[in-house]
Symmetry: C2
Subunit: 243 residues, 2 copies
């Protein structure tokens, strides 16, 4: 069933109207009277609706059933990624959303080559949030993951450390596996922190340990900076019993 996200205040009890981007999307899909669609508020509430009227500017819907979203993971995984080059962050936002991430948090680290300046940041954030919204629609998410940008590595560590499992992946770690870290106790929230193309500096890894993060390996092979967070996220979802 096609899924649309609207602002929470638009999720009315009996009737709904799709406008703007949603209406344009509905046109592309050639939605017709009588068809069923799912409308979500992006925070876990959704309505099954029937199309009642299609006009050039808007699509009118009748609400058939309200429900809590059933597609969200029971575990809340935050993906913390050091700014990568080019379009890799966009790739990770799209894929992490599909894979069920709760939020995606970008931050600077010592070896980051790319880092948006303050001027371009608000425009980029808007674009990244759109990518998350689009991936959430396509993959059938009940929420749209928030994309956040933090001003420093330190603030990223402090925020990440608040999860039940706060994990940093480091290519030179040999002994502690992700499995050891996850299976040492129950968890409902997880932070997964990965470095940029050049990796994290050893001093940054130590700083993370001091902040309360556990340093883990993702195996014997070196993963690209855009592959590591998605590999870790897939494994956490698997471990948490999502599939």
């Amino acid at each position: 069933m096609t899924r649309f996200f609207v602002a929470p205040e638009e999720l009315q009890p009996d009737f709904l109207v799709l406008t703007g981007e949603n209406a344009r999307h509905a046109k592309v899909l050639r939605l017709k009277e009588g068809e069923e669609v799912l409308v979500c508020d992006g925070y876990g509430k959704e309505c099954i609706c029937t199309v009642s009227d299609v006009s050039p500017e808007q699509i009118s819907l009748v609400v058939r059933k309200r429900q809590e979203s059933e597609t969200e993971a029971t575990v809340r995984v935050s993906v913390y990624m050091a700014f990568p080059k080019a379009d890799k962050l966009e790739h990770v936002i799209q894929k992490a959303t599909e894979l069920g991430a709760y939020e995606i948090v970008a931050f600077p680290s010592a070896r980051c080559v790319s880092r948006p300046d303050d001027k371009s940041l608000s425009k980029k954030l808007e674009r990244w949030q759109k990518i998350a919204a689009s991936a959430a629609e396509q993959s059938g998410r009940g929420i749209v993951p928030q994309v956040l940008v933090l001003p420093s590595y330190k603030t990223a560590l402090e925020r990440a450390a608040q999860a039940d499992k706060a994990l940093l992946f480091y290519e030179n770690e040999r002994s502690t596996t992700l499995k050891m870290a996850l299976q040492s106790g129950a968890y409902q929230t997880v932070s997964l922190l990965t470095g940029p193309e050049g990796g994290l500096e050893l001093s940054e890894v130590k700083q993370a340990e001091d902040a309360g993060l556990q340093v883990c390996t993702l195996g014997k092979r070196i993963l690209r900076c855009e592959t590591a967070p998605l590999c870790a996220l897939s494994a956490v979802m698997y471990d948490a019993g999502e599939f």
Copy 2:
């Protein structure tokens, strides 16, 4: 340590010469006399070497130590992917190689929109194999995964079914999870089969079951055709104790 792949017959006991693409790559990296590099035969054997001479056409190496590769997974995972559109197969080849896949097998299925014709196939295969080789070098693999193309869905099923765990992922499967399939018994070889953009047809899923594949879910969210194999591969590597 920088890693080069050479043909098995080039892996001599005492001295080695890097030529062609490898020599060009060594130039780009500005390798100097005395530096250490790793030279692999792509089949799990490798040598630690020291650069002894750099000339415009070739790089001469002295073999210091021969060893078996230590970066290969203990489990052999074959990724079977129905031909996707555009460059998605290239993406999957690169990422699956990083994640430790043993081989990547492309095949046609009913809803495949894209499918290389026989003329362009050998050129494409060459390109795909290069992508695997390059990703194997970068991620530190001991082998270069083979990229194979099979002529029909039926041949893909027959080949995939020979693994200890032969699994097909289907978005309408609700009960059998990947975890249930993996934890029902020990395994050393795994086949992971996924469909194209439009998914597999129900008749194809039934055909796969008849061929001996087990149908599993990757969770409540709908994954894109290029995300599903990498998610499944990550989870299998995790389950097998790789990280």
